[in-house]
């Protein structure tokens, strides 16, 4: 191994030093080089960073977020019938390296930024989501929080928040198999663990550094045993060689392993991405056939053609509906 290990260097904003989480994280990485910075953007937003170099040795920035604690949900993702739909970003970037990930087009570096002033996030959420109107909050969109729960503990913090705000449904989206990290928590009914599942072939070729399909399914089965509400996300569905066979196998393997009746629901979505992000990714990754594939661009979104999308959704939903009732199937609305 020639590259330095994960978080060999930790950049610390001056304003982040006072937080207990900073101390906790530094204790987890006693050999890390620590480097003082005034603002996380002076490292994170440097021009001309090379994503493929930096991914080989991920660094960590500890910062204190000053504003923008909550964002309105994107039209690219389903809101599960909630008009008050938000997401939050306690961490920017992910330890996994999915080749299709939009973060490569959105952010200028794969360096992970962890905002250690967690209370400011939950206080902002309490203000923004006050009242009793149901709200939906996704906390793991620009990262995979469960994968790094052992280090940061953000999931546990947000689950605590959910317990005191029953009208807020919190979704923790993940590809991780790290359910062990939540074993000590009693699952509240307004927290959903949403697992992204892909065929083994896709995991091996495009979802770099992620747990295998089998490991994810095992984690889901364990989560169900622990009484967590679980959502399955066959999303993004990729049009790869022999995609029909791969996705049929995925659905069959999934429902042979886990209990369909205990699922909250199943979400389906064909790969789609902001076309501007895709252009940036194509510059960074000319060697990726998945990224440079000639997607159909329409209204600022790149995906497959309407007919292809329809074919893909129909194929996967048909197989899925053999195991779950129709009311539990939630496709991304614009894909129908």
């Amino acid at each position: 191994m020639t590259f330095l290990p994960l978080f060999s260097h930790i950049y610390i904003e001056d304003a982040a030093r006072e937080y207990p989480l900073t101390e906790h994280i530094l204790a987890r990485f006693p050999k890390a080089q620590t480097i003082s910075i005034q603002n996380y953007k002076e490292v994170f937003n440097r021009p001309r960073q090379r994503w493929e170099h930096q991914r080989q040795s991920l660094k960590l920035i500890l910062a204190a977020r000053r504003d923008s604690f909550l964002y309105p949900g994107s039209s690219f993702v389903p809101n599960f019938d909630h008009t008050r739909f938000f997401y939050t970003t306690p961490i920017l970037n992910c330890v996994y390296g999915c080749e299709y990930c939009y973060l490569q087009g959105l952010l200028s570096s794969p360096t992970m930024v962890a905002f250690v002033n967690h209370t400011a996030f939950t206080e902002a959420a309490a203000r923004e989501l006050s009242g009793s109107t149901p709200a939906y909050l996704c906390i793991s969109y620009d990262t995979d929080l469960l994968a790094i729960e052992d280090i940061f503990g953000y999931c546990a913090e947000w689950i605590e928040f959910a317990k005191s705000h029953p009208h807020v449904t919190i979704e923790i989206r993940t590809k991780s198999a790290n359910i062990r990290a939540l074993e000590h928590i009693t699952p509240p009914s307004n927290v959903i663990l949403a697992w992204t599942l892909s065929p083994d072939d896709v995991v091996k070729r495009f979802e770099h550094k992620t747990p295998s399909l089998q490991a994810r399914l095992k984690a889901i089965a364990h989560a169900q045993k622990l009484q967590w509400r679980v959502r399955l996300c066959f999303d993004p569905i990729l049009r790869v060689k022999e995609w029909q066979k791969h996705y049929q196998e995925l659905v069959e393997t999934t429902f042979a392993t886990i209990e369909p009746n205990a699922l909250a629901d199943v979400s389906l979505g064909v790969f789609r991405i902001n076309s501007g992000y895709l252009r940036t990714m194509q510059e960074q990754r000319p060697d990726s056939r998945l990224v440079t594939y000639p997607y159909h661009v329409q209204n600022g979104s790149a995906s497959y053609t309407d007919a292809e999308r329809q074919e893909m959704i129909t194929h996967v939903s048909e197989h899925t509906l053999r195991s779950i009732p129709k009311e539990k199937l939630c496709p991304v609305p614009w894909q129908w």
Partner: protein, 282 residues
């Protein structure tokens, strides 16, 4: 292996590296003569002169010069530096992870991605020699911020590195050129190891070949492509090359047709991109 450009402030800093690596002088152009450029086996060593401005000018000029020859070198600053006593020993080779320009308080960060056995420290670049120990726990020099500012306008932070040998403890010691060379010579093996790792592990960005650029130029003028269309076509050509394929034969046959109207241009451009990208699923 990837080419590397090493910039030193003084000839006496460059000499031990030139000797260790068996480099020969290049005198093919004004830039090469002005900055006393040496070359051998993929490594270039240039001498900037003292001060951050000279370092910035030399780094910009030499990087631009090498890039004009289709080279995409790593940019490495090597030289002597002082530090407060107790921070590092005389003769230690240090890898710098933060560079601060004391005059402007601007800060730059070379990425350190590759395993190494050196001590890492921050460095402050001053406008004048530092003859009394500074309060900051950092190395001091007079060039590095200029080098980093210039280098990172042309290459990424992961393609830069700063290596400094501790020459004094900011106590007013004046070193002779021979002493400077001795300091650098004593650590030349360690410097070689770091540079070799960087060169072998950090691939250059994918570039079009000369014949691809000629084909792109022809397509641009013949089909009167817009700037945006040219960029998209270039991206599609890069993807083709990245997959190890040659330009498809349709590429040239599309351009053999006359392209006069806007509609013909649009159709030709779409056909060119489609021919390059293909419909094969990933």
């Amino acid at each position: 292996m990837r080419p590397a450009l090493v910039v030193t402030a003084l000839m006496c800093e460059a000499t031990p590296l030139i000797d260790a690596w068996g480099l020969r002088p290049l005198r093919r152009s004004e830039v090469e003569e002005r900055f006393q450029l040496f070359y051998g086996d993929g490594v270039y060593v240039g001498v900037s002169g003292i001060g951050k401005l000279r370092s910035a000018v030399a780094t910009s000029a030499l990087l631009a010069h090498l890039r004009s020859q289709d080279l995409t070198p790593l940019a490495i600053n090597i030289g002597i530096a002082g530090c407060p006593a107790g921070l590092a020993r005389l003769g230690d080779l240090i890898l710098v992870h933060k560079v601060r320009d004391v005059a402007t308080n601007s800060r730059l960060y070379p990425d350190i991605l590759i395993k190494h056995h050196l001590k890492e420290l921050p460095l402050d670049t001053h406008d004048h020699p530092v003859t009394t120990p500074p309060s900051e726990q950092a190395l001091v020099d007079m060039e590095c911020s200029g080098f980093m500012q210039a280098a990172t306008t042309l290459v990424s932070p992961s393609e830069t590195a700063v290596l400094k040998v501790i020459s004094d403890h900011c106590d007013g010691t004046r070193l002779s050129p021979e002493q400077v060379s001795q300091h650098l010579g004593a650590v030349s093996d360690q410097i070689t190891a770091v540079i070799t790792s960087l060169r072998s592990e950090l691939p250059a960005p994918l570039q079009l070949r000369t014949e691809d650029i000629q084909a792109l130029d022809f397509a641009t003028s013949h089909a009167r492509l817009s700037v945006t269309q040219r960029i998209e076509l270039e991206r599609a050509m890069l993807a083709t090359r990245a997959s190890g394929k040659a330009l498809p034969s349709e590429f040239h046959s599309i351009l053999a047709q006359p392209i006069k109207s806007k509609d013909q241009r649009r159709i030709a451009f779409a056909a060119l991109v489609a021919a390059l990208r293909g419909e094969e699923l990933p």
